[in-house]
Amino acid sequence: MTRDTGAGAGAEGTENTQSTENPENAVVTGPGDDRMVVAENVHKSFGRLEVLRGIDLEVRRGEVMCVVGPSGSGKSTFLRCVNHLEKITAGRLWVNGHLMGYRQRGGRLYELHDTQVARQRRGIGMVFQNFNLFPHMTVLGNVMEAPVQVNREPRAEARENALRLLARVGLEEKAGAYPRQLSGGQQQRVAIARALAMRPDLMLFDEPTSALDPELVGEVLDVMKNLAEEGMTMVVVTHEMGFAREVGDSLVFMDGGVVVESGAPREVLTNPRQERTQAFLSKVL
């Protein structure tokens, strides 16, 4: 929930316990705090171009936050900042209690080493608009890759888990196929299984259905809906307002690198308060 707009109907009691043991590196620690993502005044510039201009928001554990907004408003950039694929230029960003990409000590920030950033990313799954499956590996290979290479899971165990995940997205019979032999919807479901194989605490979706033919959108949204019902914390950039309304716990409208409005999806979609939100919604609804 953003703090600046105060429109969030579901943002109750998020300003609770500050961390006790490691106050600088972790604002959110322990089971007492239910905030999975905390963004504080996040800025991101590409050279002169300021893409994010002060994002404040919080995602609670188990929350499904949908992010909408016009193209170029910085939605993808924000998601990529969350798992540190992009370095933020100002502000702070915590995921699951960890300051992303940095260590703070004595009021100073120290950049984390690549391997430490990689470790932070293990708990964050990401699903891309273009699937980005590894074309030189089978479906099973795609799902097993990170558990085996990164977590050093025994192959047999990783394989069993991968097959279970493929069954969960309805694709166990495609385990031996290569990505190019699958439809877009099937590829995206494999991509979700691949991310889940790392047992993430948080899943990021960047327009997961935007590259799909209309008739294939539903199968991917169904998988995401199931995931949400099982309690996964999700941040979903999407243009599927139906999904946002039905599955989302909160909705954030971004424009020009800031959060313009946020709140319960029904509230924002039916009663937008900001002019820019109204203008955007009138175009997409």
């Binding site: 799954g125 890759e145 991310a195």
Partner: protein
């Protein structure tokens, strides 16, 4: 298929018998087109001329005594020549292999975000692609002029030891350059350094050809940079790297003929020339050299074909890509 013109006249084969769209649905298929194909008299003239030249060439091969075929075949497989073939093959293979390793390392340096590594990588490719291989060969053949011995120790001891008031030196180990740098080793160094320069560019192009989304997806899964490179980027870059590397293999095979300038004399071409010089019958040995290089590179080409196929098996897009790369390389 009576004339080669059949293709251009009827490229789609029996496609003419397909029903023509919705309007014709339900009707019997129209009769297949039987048109008189366009004639290409120019092709026949060209073929006749070429045939004439071919006949003249064969006639020369048979009747001109300078070829001395019996002598050629007798000496083409003599023991020193076979040793030459072996040296050439080993030299080419080792240099190519080391060159590939250097190329991968330099390409990664140039794509890193460490400006020093980027600069060093650039310097390397710039130098070793600019200096001709024969010059490198002669240079490394004469490197003993620069360093008579190779010594291991703490650098600049001739300056700081006197400053500390100590006599002697801080060199722990030394070997004469001549024992260390046999002609064969000099040849390997010269050729692999040069090869590394070319391979660096090929590998770099290959790595750049892989979609950025691939490494991002891998990073998002928590893979380290090394893992991303080894498991995701490099394997996908191979389909772009392999075809030009095949060309590099034939190139370095042929360039082993330069190492007699080091001088490494056990190499194939020098051996054949030696036979020619000894017997005062040089020309057949030159022809033998052509035949040897033809044979070896032909075997290489077959191997390259299967290698490329195994990298793109069942992947039409990739096969198409490889064809494009090859035709670009050929033109």
């Amino acid at each position: 298929m009576s004339t080669p013109d059949d293709h251009s006249a009827n490229p789609a084969g029996p496609a003419g018998s397909r029903p023509a769209g919705g309007a014709a649905a339900g009707q019997s298929p129209p009769e297949a087109i039987k048109a008189v194909p366009v004639r290409h008299p120019g092709r026949w003239v060209a073929a006749a001329v070429l045939l004439l030249f071919a006949a003249m060439f064969v006639n020369m091969l048979v009747t001109n005594d300078a070829f001395d075929w019996p002598f050629l075949f007798e000496n083409m497989f003599s023991p020193p020549v076979l040793v030459g073939v072996r040296t050439t093959l080993i030299l080419a293979a080792v240099s190519l292999l080391i060159g590939i390793v250097i190329g991968i390392v330099v390409a990664i340096m140039r794509l890193s975000d460490n400006p020093i590594l980027v600069g060093l990588g650039w310097l390397y490719t710039w130098f070793f692609r600019a200096v001709p291989r024969i010059v490198l060969c002669v240079l490394f053949g004469n490197i003993a002029i620069l360093y008579q011995t190779l010594e291991l120790g703490i650098p600049f001891d001739n300056y700081w030891l006197p400053l500390l008031g100590i006599e002697g030196d801080a060199r722990f180990y030394s070997v004469p350059m001549a024992t260390l740098l046999s002609p064969f080793v000099a040849a390997v160094i010269a050729l692999s350094l040069s090869q590394g320069g070319y391979m660096a560019e090929i590998v770099r192009a290959g790595l750049l050809s892989v979609d950025k989304g691939q490494s991002e997806a891998a990073q998002a899964l928590g893979m380290s940079r090394g893992q991303v490179l080894r498991r995701i980027t490099l394997p996908q870059a191979l389909r772009v790297i392999v075809p030009p590397t095949g060309n590099e293999a034939s190139a370095i095979l042929k360039d082993t003929s330069l190492v007699s300038a080091i001088p490494l004399t056990t190499e194939l071409f020098f051996q054949l020339q030696q036979v020619g010089a000894r017997t005062f019958n040089l020309f057949p040995m030159l022809v033998a050299a052509c035949l040897w290089y033809l044979m070896i590179t032909s075997v290489l080409m077959v191997g390259q074909h299967y290698l490329e196929r195994s990298f793109t098996r069942g992947d039409r897009g990739a096969q198409e890509q490889v064809r494009r790369i090859k035709s670009r390389a050929a033109s």
